[in-house]
Subunit: 320 residues, 2 copies
């Protein structure tokens, strides 16, 4: 029995959580680990300090994900923080963490601050789900179809459908193994990518038509006001993939979406496609973080101020 | 030695070709097989009856691909037709085939007419490249980095980045094996997907804004006149992925692009995402073909006539 399996065996209550602003990898890893640990221990809770995007409702275990307030005040023997670079990304979940005896921090972000008692960080992993696959296997637990489905969702969404450079031979071997459980791949793809609203497509059309290019063709900017989001009546979730369209233009080094989040807040999402363009470093100038080629930050400013600041700070990052 | 290896050993001249309107799988499979056979035989020619899209220039072997006129009149002992559902898809290459002693037809299209002397058809394969991988391995030839690159290109482009239902455990195992050769995956992805022109993005924006929905939200139509293509000044190649955006809308059963090809011709591309919506059967009504969820046809008509015909014929294919 490995160390983690031993700790789990000695724990009477276990919490599993992940970051605010949930995505496929945070939800997938949380639900996969939750399902696996339930094979050994009934007292396992999965919770987040956020709303689960409806897109993931198709995951059968998703209905068991609790909200922070449901676990507030509870003490846990063991606390898993998944796919979280730092404590702040847990939202109020950080408070539940403080009340726990042992914290296990499992993540693949290079920016991880190693805030756990046990830190399992693999920056060469495509996703936290890829790590969870190995962790479940190493503990001798079974990866059934439902667990495989969750892991597959995390790998696919966090690797840009196997396109990002975090995808390795191991990633494909894991997916081959997941497919042995007969996961309903087409259903998964349908739920993740093929249920877009017409408004979401029209929004994409509008945004591409109005995309702005600065710094001599090196910086692509999408500016998204709350009014625009309201006009197309789409959730913020649908905006996420927009920035990739800017990245994929020849000559563009950095693409950024600036999304107005009410109340003088702007959410920045950066993308790069070249090894020498480090948008994590750029995001850090705005107190954000993430990966080298995909990062983000939250600003207290108007859209126009954000735009000026980003152009100014991006100058030193783009190629000449 | 297997049968195919024996035939190759007994052949003094070998031709390898693929379909007109080349794509990643036709070019990838042709170049992979060409490179592999060159390990045994110097007299191997790869040719197509078309222009190689510039997008594939990054493949190091692409400069060795000849045009049909370069091989016109030659007799070959052995002739490989790859990724071709029928003779017509070879263009003038069909004439070179008639002059060849043995024709080997390797393909994964369900519509394949088995026009070869030897027909190796696997409709459960993600791509012809996936088949070529196994064929090369079975012959005991080596898959080096360059061959692996070509095979990877074919698999990735023909499987919609591993999303289509032709992707199996085997597909991922093959890709894992290809990655052992240290292929420059990010360079490949960059060349395939991240060198888009701004015009191409603006064209996408325009097309999404003007996309048309018929049959009660079941049919998405993109109508592309020659004037529009001229206005955005983009190659027809850039239009290819447009139809997928229509497919990926909730409720849409069939998406179609209708592209004016000068001179009273319209190229139709159909997509579906559901097992029970067979766009190959729809394309056959226009004398076209392809796969169940991705098919095409060429019409002699104006754009408006094409539109009316497609709406009329699609009626019996969409859900009620």
């Amino acid at each position: 029995m490995n160390k983690l399996a031993r700790i789990i065996s000695n724990s009477n209550s276990i919490a599993i959580t992940s970051h605010i602003d949930p995505d496929g990898d945070s939800i997938g890893s949380m639900l996969a680990l939750w399902s696996a640990l339930r094979q050994k221990c009934r007292n396992v809770e999965a919770f987040i300090d956020d709303v689960l995007p409806r897109k993931y409702d198709f995951l059968p275990q998703s209905k068991y994900v609790k909200k922070y307030k449901d676990v507030e005040g509870k003490d846990f023997d063991l606390f898993f923080a998944l796919d979280c670079g730092n404590k702040a990304r847990l939202g109020h979940g950080a408070e539940a963490m403080e009340n726990s005896k042992i914290v296990v921090n499992i993540d693949h972000h290079i920016s991880n601050t190693e805030f756990g008692d046990i830190n399992i960080i693999d920056i060469n992993s495509s996703s936290t789900c890829e790590m969870i696959y190995s962790i479940i296997k190493d503990m001798g637990l079974i990866i059934d179809k439902q667990i495989a489905t969750c892991i597959y969702v995390g790998i696919v969404t966090d690797s840009g459908n196997f396109m990002y450079d975090n995808v390795t031979e191991k990633t494909h071997l894991i997916v081959a193994d997941l497919m042995k459980t007969d996961i309903a791949k087409q259903d998964i793809i349908y739920n993740l990518y093929q249920k877009k609203s017409i408004n979401s497509l029209r929004f994409l059309g509008y945004s591409l038509t109005n995309m702005d290019v600065e710094l001599g063709g090196r910086l692509a900017i999408f500016q998204i006001s709350s009014d625009l989001l309201k006009k197309f009546n789409i959730p913020g979730d649908d905006v996420e993939s927009l920035v990739n369209y800017g990245r994929d233009i020849e000559g563009i080094d950095i693409a950024v979406t600036m999304m107005e989040k009410g109340d003088n807040k702007v959410k920045l999402s950066f993308r790069s496609k070249h090894d020498d363009i480090d948008v994590r470093a750029l995001a850090q100038l705005f107190n954000g973080g993430g990966h080298k080629k995909a990062s983000g930050a939250m600003l207290n400013s108007t859209l126009d101020e954000a735009r000026n600041q980003v152009i100014e700070k991006a100058k030193q990052f783009v190629r000449r």
